[in-house]
Symmetry: C2
Subunit: 540 residues, 2 copies
């Protein structure tokens, strides 16, 4: 399937879908105007990627309280175009290269309206059997699509997966499961015997003695979800330093040094967040080294692999080795990837898979009488509320079902390969540029670069402090423009700290010409910064 053709088809279908047959009721037209004009304008560049608004723009335009009387729906829809769209940062723009993509597709728009039409809070199987079972099915489809080990499959009866709202939710849920698992482990070590049902109940005394000794680990490159989980659990997070020579990966050796220091202080490692595809540079942690350490030295420790962005690329068999799929399958207790980033599924759709579902249910099952049902009491169905922090949940699986069926595995793979191809083409261009350098090996669709006039005629080596200032100036200049949207980041490593700029491809509507145009703007702004900088140097 031709993905670019598909994009156009999406637009046409959506317009047809929403067009109203009846001239008297023009609500349909308003929706068509809104969405079709919007996508057309995004495609032809009439709407720049970033909103031009200033803080407070909308607050100043809206009444300070709800209207007394109901208003005509037409008027409300018009206000969507007039007031809301101008304040949207256009993640669906072909020129969106900030953060990571948050792709939305036609299938998901339809899925969302169908989901609303049968709205329910989905906490129990009986809340809507279809919601629970479709989730079981499509999450298993994704586990197979990605090549996850059978232990992660729901059909194993032991592991399984669930759709969460975000990778933060997945990481936090892993954290709760990990803490309870470690405390059960400590209970056994302290002589607690299993109940008649074979369960270990954690005594209050064990909880009091050990809870505050538990420590979470990741690297300085781990997403803020780790530090935030630590805050929520009320436990410390160690951001282990990384090296440029390891391409910003968390290594077993670096981790071991920090853990052993903690252990010698009486602390207990219970949770490690390893990342496949870090946010800043797309780094892949040394999962085999970490996994072997856990196996040999820290058996109470739970390994959660956060592949929020990169994980969908496991759908490409040729990429599995580089992305360490075998290591994830061997060592991870749980795994997360977001289909709502690169994976064509409208936010929110974070896939969280775990090898032992009881790690979740033992920690999260709190069932009062009004939530009981005969099917649950018999243990023949899954109640997803016991797999997640909250009770209620949206019917998210329908989005993923529509996407996976419409695109098929091949269409999904073609979409991924297109983003990777864009990245490889851009890599060549940047490598030929005399003003820019790529600071880490490009990762799938992510390039991290900085302005560094290395081959300028002056032949002067600038140090990181100077380059950081120069690149901050460049980012500021780019950030003032509305026709480009990139993200900055500070790369901390043992060797040095570099202020760099990220360009993340993989948008569903992005053509390579959009990437080229973005790079043209970066070159243009870079050139201006260099002219200024040279003038400054001449004065000095």
């Amino acid at each position: 399937m031709d993905i670019e053709h598909w994009s156009v088809l999406i637009l046409v279908n959506l317009c047809n879908l929403l067009a109203s047959l009846n001239d008297d009721v023009d609500i349909g037209y308003a929706a068509v105007d809104s969405i079709c004009d919007y996508y057309t304008n995004l495609q032809n560049g009439t709407i720049p990627v970033k909103a031009k608004v200033q803080p407070g723009y909308l607050i100043d335009q809206l009444p300070t309280s709800a209207p007394e009387n109901g208003q005509d729906f037409n008027e409300i829809q018009k206000d969507f175009n007039k007031l809301i769209l101008p304040g949207i940062t256009h993640w669906q723009s072909p020129s969106f290269f900030a953060y990571f993509p948050s792709n939305s597709t036609f299938e998901c728009m339809i899925a969302d309206i169908l989901s609303s039409s049968v709205a329910n809070p989905g906490f129990n199987w009986i809340c809507s059997p279809a919601c629970t079972e479709l989730e079981q099915v499509v999450v298993e489809w994704t586990a197979k699509l990605l090549g996850l080990d059978k232990m992660f499959w729901g059909s194993s009866g032991i592991g399984g997966g669930v759709i969460m709202g975000s990778a933060s939710d997945s990481a936090f849920t892993a954290g709760i499961a990990a803490r309870e698992k470690a405390l059960r482990y400590l209970s056994v070590e302290n002589g607690v015997k299993p109940s008649d049902y074979g369960e270990i109940e954690i005594p209050e005394s064990i909880r009091n003695e050990y809870s505050q000794k538990l420590v979470i680990y990741g690297s300085t490159q781990t997403h803020s979800l780790a530090a935030k989980t630590a805050v929520m659990l009320g436990l410390p997070f160690r951001a282990v330093p990384v090296s440029i020579e390891d391409n910003y990966s968390l290594t077993g050796q670096n981790l071991k040094e920090i853990i052993d220091k903690d252990i010698s202080n009486g602390l207990i490692p219970f949770l490690i967040y390893a990342t496949v595809g870090t946010t800043s540079t797309g780094a892949i942690d040394k999962i085999e080294e970490i996994g072997n350490l856990i196996k040999k030295k820290y058996p109470k420790t739970f390994l959660h692999v956060d592949a929020a962005w990169a994980g969908v690329a496991y759908a490409l068999p040729n990429y599995r080795k580089n992305l360490k799929l075998n290591e994830v399958n061997e060592f991870a207790n749980s795994f997360c990837t977001n289909f709502h980033k690169w994976g064509l599924t409208t936010f929110d759709c974070s896939i969280f898979c775990i090898k032992d579902r009881k790690d979740l249910t033992k920690a999260l099952d709190v069932t009062p009488s009004y939530l009981r049902s005969k099917e649950s009491d018999q243990g023949i169905v899954i109640d997803y509320r016991n797999w997640q922090p909250a009770l209620g949940r949206r019917f998210r699986s329908i989005k993923l079902w529509f996407v996976l069926r419409s695109f098929g595995i091949k269409g999904f793979q073609e979409h991924l390969l297109r983003g990777i191809d864009h990245c490889q083409q851009l890599e060549k261009i940047i490598k030929e540029s005399s003003n820019f350098e790529i600071v880490t090996p490009p990762s799938l669709t992510l390039i991290v670069f900085r302005l560094n006039p290395i081959s300028s005629k002056e032949d002067i080596q600038l140090d990181d402090d100077e380059l950081n200032l120069m690149n901050q100036d460049l980012f500021k200049a780019l950030d003032l423009r509305c026709d480009i949207f990139l993200t900055q980041t500070m790369l901390h490593s043992k060797e040095r700290n570099m202020y760099v700029i990220r360009i993340a491809m993989g948008g569903v509507h992005t053509k390579f010409s959009d990437v080229e145009e973005a790079w043209r703007i970066v070159e243009e702004e870079g050139q201006k910064i260099l002219v200024k900088w040279k003038a400054q140097r001449a004065i000095e």
Copy 2:
């Protein structure tokens, strides 16, 4: 506005909206077929409220992996009708009386498709200024609609509100804020001085010494979200007993007894969940008593009021006194109500308001460089990621905006009053029934009853054990039927334990004739149980 007329209008509009102009592209028709047929069939009773499916019905019908090639979208849509709808529990059915309603409206279906069309993860203001600002505006609209004190309003610059996914998320977030606040309090008590910026940093030593001494309180009637929050925070939850004479409310005296026992054991109360409208019976805790206790005796304690279901009724000025609005305004640190229950807004839309927003941001702000933006750095915008556990968030405010504008305050109030009227009419009917008793005073739209042949000619007083068994039999019989859906609950109190049945009204499509029909079924099944029971007694 006539709400019943509105329901029909919704259906007509939706059909028109989705109908396709172009015969070649019949995707629109498929969506129309699906949603219009669905709502028509719900209204005329062709589709009973409960799904007739058995566990595994859908898993057995779907392929075990995603298709290799993309499929025709028409086929996928058809499968929604063929496979998904039969497995839906119809929360939008006029005969849905289980749990609490989860109303969905036309406005929200449109809002969801618009939200998908501009999909973004919404974590920063710059992620989409419109998303952040619309949320600020409509949450303030709700705060005013409900009569919440100005301290809860975002425009106060001190407090403010945010839309969460569920009341569980709100309660958990309150829990994190409360714990950090208590630890800051304890830090000050232990001599920690504010930083140059006036901030109290909690030393590791304080965290280690006090974290495991913190205790959460609610009643035996508090929603399971409290026990689950306790699990997630790794802290104990005390379910304080309640009395029938207090109508299942948590009282200051009962609470004080448990807290004082904990304090004498060296523990520290830091969080109380009070409820306005408990799930089981709609009880309202004695917020003034609890609040005064906190004020006078437990100043480290944070009071979160969970009004998940009943809170929207504050939109009715005449009901505010009974629902203790003044007490909430005076004593609560934070407050939650779900517009996605009775409040016409499709799941998910939980409003969480707090009097001091810094309680949230001090606990939840973890900002790495790649999430920084110039607007945030200047402190002139809200970044809602610092008000919630997860990073990413959906554009939920658009649903609420559409609902509040379409219905207006008056239409919203009329919808609420209609549900209350149904409840009052049903109350009369049950009171006249010789076989049933109402076990607690009806609350807004909730009636809790049990089969109890009090005025049967045998004139025999049955004890609770016998009645519990009899009502379990009744619930089992009702639960086997697909044309009625109620929920059971066990009412624990100091005096006795009663197995009872709940009927929760307030559905947006429910007419009083639907309530009457549900009650007819209850009477019919109750009669059968009584006949069986009398036959059984005759044998004995």
